[in-house]
């Protein structure tokens, strides 16, 4: 996030010149990876690389400078996430046996204490699907309300409303957890 794309690299990438691809990848791929992780994708890195394999050859047609590039990449990422969710609905979930996931054992006090510290994804998972998407796109992908509206195919007003509701719901969840932990 700290890294920014220089104008030369940006113009090279947007002109379809492959010399800018590497810069685009190093600057934006962490945000895409974080987006997939925050949404609970199990193989976030693979999906991130899928997105860039898809996106890089098509950069030539992108307009709008930095914001346009970011919007384009996260539009593709959003579509890939939707694809992933649909595919995951149809395929059975396979997992190796993990004693920590065995519901027949109760968690230890240490596990509970540790779990309550982190786990923002768990808290997010209890939000509404659209509210979660808006919050992740706004914070992790660092997009403006208009950009999020374009990606989710909604009006900016609707995105603002979703954001407000998502934030207040998240606040309730967080305070509730704090009370439970203390």
């Amino acid at each position: 996030m700290a890294q920014q794309l220089s104008d030369d690299e940006l113009s090279a990438a947007l002109a379809g010149d492959p010399s800018g691809f590497s810069a685009v990848y190093t600057v934006i791929s962490p945000a895409v990876l974080g987006y997939f992780r925050a949404r609970g994708v199990d193989d976030a890195e693979a999906l991130t690389q899928d997105v860039f394999v898809d996106v890089l050859p098509k950069l030539a047609g992108v307009t709008g400078g930095h914001a346009g590039l970011r919007t384009f990449i996260f539009s593709v990422a959003h579509a890939r996430l939707v694809d992933y969710r649909r595919r995951a609905e149809r395929t059975p979930h396979l997992a190796e046996y993990d004693p920590l996931n065995d519901a027949r054992y109760s968690a230890s006090a240490e596990d509970e204490a540790l779990g309550s510290l982190g786990g923002i994804s768990d808290t997010l998972a209890r939000l509404n699907e659209e509210q979660r998407e808006v919050l992740v796109l706004r914070i992790v992908a660092d997009l403006s309300i208009e950009q999020v509206a374009g990606i989710m195919d909604k009006t900016p007003g609707a995105i603002k409303q979703l954001q407000r509701r998502g934030l207040s719901a998240l606040r309730e969840l967080v305070t509730e957890k704090d009370h439970a932990a203390s």
């Binding site: 996030m1 700290a2 010149d17 492959p18 010399s19 800018g20 691809f21 590497s22 990848y25 190093t26 600057v27 791929s29 962490p30 945000a31 990876l33 974080g34 992780r37 925050a38 890195e45 693979a46 991130t48 690389q49 860039f52 394999v53 890089l56 050859p57 982190g118 923002i120 994804s121 808290t123 997010l124 919050l135 992740v136 706004r138 914070i139 992790v140 660092d142 603002k160 954001q163 407000r164 934030l167 207040s168 998240l170 606040r171 967080v174 305070t175 704090d178």
Partner: protein
């Protein structure tokens, strides 16, 4: 919670909280910062195909033409051939959706039309008897007129011809006469063309038909068979045609002369 590690991030979060009227929610701010921390510092190591794309990009500074085809060498060639038709599709992909959809739509519409017409006709037929009669009548006319045309001449002409044929064999000299007649005809027709098919045909018909008819006394059915060849009887045919025409004309030639003499005798006997 006032830590400002990255002022730009905090600006975004601050703006979001301000939009929603939640500026004072410290826990919420920490939760959002936690969420932001999900973003890793470094880009993940690229996969093989992605690495090829990226290195092609760095190499592309030298030769800009190479990089595009570096990852997929096969597809662009295929694409260049097929993309003329539809440029919107990805490389090497031809859309079958249109064709499939059109064919299926045609079949469905056709089936619906036929089904609707069948239902309608069935309903009308069930409701009115006049319609049923008229339909059966028209269907009968349609199917009989071509079929009727052929048998009709058979019956008209041969019926007299068959009748004469019977008495001639029935009189026992008939067996000789038809043979002689057949021989005479074969002789006549033979000069025209092939004698091989002609001779058996001539031999069969005269002897076979007269006895069969004579015993059973059923004139029409057996009589019509020899009569059928009699149809083409018009003498004009044999001259023009080849082999097929030859067999037919013989019978008529033999039958027609016998007709007039026999008709009166047989007709009274039969009924």
């Amino acid at each position: 919670m006032t830590g400002t590690r990255d002022p730009q991030q905090d600006d975004t979060i601050q703006a979001m909280l301000g939009d929603s009227g939640l500026d004072s929610a410290a826990e919420l701010r920490s939760a959002l910062e936690q969420l932001r921390a999900v973003v890793p510092d470094a880009a993940p190591a690229p996969r093989a195909d992605l690495a090829a794309l990226l290195t092609a990009g760095t190499a592309g500074a030298i030769g800009p033409a190479a990089p595009d085809s570096a990852t997929t060498t096969a597809l662009p060639t295929v694409a260049s051939a097929k993309n003329d038709a539809d440029a919107s599709l990805p490389a090497g992909v031809t859309s079958l959706a249109e064709r499939r959809g059109r064919k299926r739509r045609l079949a469905i519409v056709g089936g619906a039309v036929v089904g609707a017409m069948t239902l309608g006709a069935g309903a009308v037929a069930a409701s009115s008897e006049d319609f049923r009669h008229s339909v059966s009548h028209t269907v009968g006319v349609i199917f009989q007129s071509p079929g009727h045309g052929a048998p009709a001449p058979e019956r008209v002409q041969p019926s007299p011809s068959t009748i004469p044929a019977l008495p001639a064999p029935g009189a026992t000299p008939g067996s000789g006469t038809p043979g002689a007649a057949g021989a005479a005809q074969s002789g006549q027709s033979a000069p025209g063309n092939s004698s091989a098919p002609g001779s058996p045909a001539a031999g069969h018909k005269p002897p076979a038909t007269p006895p069969a008819v004579g015993r059973d006394g059923i004139l029409p059915t057996p009589g019509q068979r020899p009569g059928a060849p009699g149809l083409p009887a018009s003498p004009g045919l044999p001259g023009g045609d080849g082999n097929a025409g030859k067999d037919l004309p013989r019978v008529p030639g033999h039958i027609t002369p016998t007709l007039p003499g026999v008709v009166p005798t047989k007709a009274p006997g039969q009924p």
